[in-house]
């Protein structure tokens, strides 16, 4: 188990990795990736019981994570590599033809750690619930996690799944909504208001928690609280407030960096704000 300072160091390196990866292929989604880095780090290096050294699809007796907002793949790939699923140097192939690190995650390239394709939004929660049911049927007491974007939950399928899980008492599942308030075309409040998210999920029957997703102490603590709330006939959802572009001053406070790659000058400026803690790939 890593202490908070170590987790912060890892998150720092992940931010460097993902920026360098996106710059390397001149494409990708830095904004949401930077915002969700602390959560992904806390999940893989603190909260989850998993075995990176020998990946197998079923993940029996392991906690599984499903990334529904697949466009933040750069952050996830870095966390997977840094936790030992595949060689860190492979991060340099991100989005380049022939890579296993496709633009959006897929099991088709047999990249260790990936169990389902995502990118077309709104599907991951359903997959996570299905997997949570299979764990129950298999007598496996592990936990299933699912991360979604806030813009993503404008998709109707999310609410089909949100209705299903409490009705069926899926209480081995922790869903997380990255509430950064921004999407491609602008603030969510302008594109399509999400309303009172905690109230919405609560009214669907979920046990709702809230946290600041960019405060490592709070993330680690809330994930522990969430785990303790399981096995209580309700699924748990964490509404996670984050800052899109977190860690890079000129990428914060705007939706402009949702899907744009930094050029060489911008990369240098960004990396100057994020120390190299574990060694670049």
């Amino acid at each position: 188990m890593y202490d908070i300072d170590k987790l912060k160091d890892i998150a720092c390196q992940v931010r460097r990795d993902l920026l360098r990866m996106i710059h390397g292929s001149a494409s990708g989604h830095p904004g949401g990736s930077l915002g969700c880095t602390d959560l992904l780090t806390a999940l893989y290096f603190s909260a989850m019981n998993h075995h990176p050294e020998k990946f197998e699809m079923e993940g029996k007796n392991q906690d599984l994570f499903f990334l529904s907002n697949g466009h933040i793949s750069a952050a996830w790939y870095s966390v997977l590599a840094r936790s030992g699923y595949f060689p860190v140097k492979e991060l340099g192939t991100f989005r380049i033809m022939g890579t296993r690190l496709q633009g959006h995650p897929t099991p088709a390239e047999h990249l260790e750690g990936i169990r389902i394709a995502s990118g077309s939004l709104g599907q991951g929660l359903s997959v996570a619930i299905g997997n949570a049911i299979s764990k129950k049927l298999n007598g496996d007491n592990s936990t299933v996690y699912c991360l979604m974007g806030d813009g993503e939950i404008q998709e109707g399928q999310v609410w089909e799944a949100a209705m299903f899980a409490p009705h069926n008492k899926i209480d081995n599942l922790i869903a997380i909504v990255d509430n950064n308030g921004k999407q491609i075309d602008g603030p969510t409040d302008q594109v399509l208001s999400l309303g009172d998210l905690p109230a919405k999920w609560k009214s669907f029957g979920w046990d709702v928690l809230e946290m600041n997703g960019n405060d490592m102490d709070e993330v680690v603590g809330t994930l522990k609280v969430a785990k303790n709330r399981l096995n209580n006939k309700k699924p748990v959802v964490i509404i996670m407030k984050t800052e899109m572009g977190m860690g890079v001053d000129f990428m914060m406070g705007t939706h402009k960096w949702h899907g744009n790659a930094p050029n060489a000058e911008q990369l240098e400026k960004a990396l100057s704000q994020i120390p190299e803690t574990l060694g670049d790939y």
């Binding site: 079923e58 099991p107 389902i116 599907q123 299905g130 299979s134 764990k135 298999n138 089909e160």
Partner: protein, 319 residues
Amino acid sequence: MKKYIAVDEKDTRSGFGAGLFELGQTNQQVVALCADLIGSLKMDAFVKEFPDRFIQVGIAEANMIGLAAGLAIGGKIPFTGTFANFSTGRVYDQIRQAVAYSNKNVKICASHAGLTLGEDGATHQIMEDLGLMKMLPNMTVINTADYNQTRLATLEIAKYNGPVYLRFGRPVVPNFTNPNSGFEIGKAVTYEEGTDVTIIATGHMLWKALEAWDILHEKNIHAEIINLHTIKPLDEKAVLSSVLKTGCVVTAEEHLRNGGLGDSIAQLLALRNPAPVEMVAVDDKFGESGKPEELLVKYHIDTPDIVEAAIRAISRKKG
């Protein structure tokens, strides 16, 4: 004297229900999901006997496909059940990403396909589903002919590891295939050998093709009747070797001409051995309310249409 006379009549969907129930007894990994159509899909027996392995998803088909993919990751063999329209068109992107591209062991089982759904009309009569599904890489596409074949196919797809689309229908139709013949995915079945024309039929159209054989036989036309229950992967060898013998083809399906079985056969022949092809399929239009048999006549996918197509195909042969 007619060779093909229906002695038993059943709906294909009941074959699915029977097969699913048997799987429930024999394979602990089989899980069934349904989107509020248990009775229509004939899943009642499975639901009653194996409630722990049945998931009622409500009217939420997109969620059902995602659930199935997640169950498959956990080692389960999920069978989803709803009408063909809601099994394909409504959830195409979910199937594309979470099942086909992700190559999950999900069995998408679809009833009420095609015109023979009848009175509910065009909103429910999907005739594009074979095309939609066959275009997806990794997807196996099966369209069964009767109760016996549907039951056997249901049992067989549980043994195959990969995405499958299994299409069947609503009406009671002749039940004539051998219940003990087994079912081999991707393997065509020859019902009659002939030298003048190859008639390739799938789904409910197989019986119509056999009726056409009787009529052609009386006209001294020797038709070869092949049942292609598996649209994809296509049994290319069976098709090519038959056409080598007969020199022309008629395809018969309860589907649009665009994207269906005939389209696959025409593509194969154009690339490998060009020969006249006539397609008994629905033109580029939606269906409508009516009795199944009336609709087959109106939309020109009935027995006489197969007979006429065979005569046209033969007349187009060179030499």
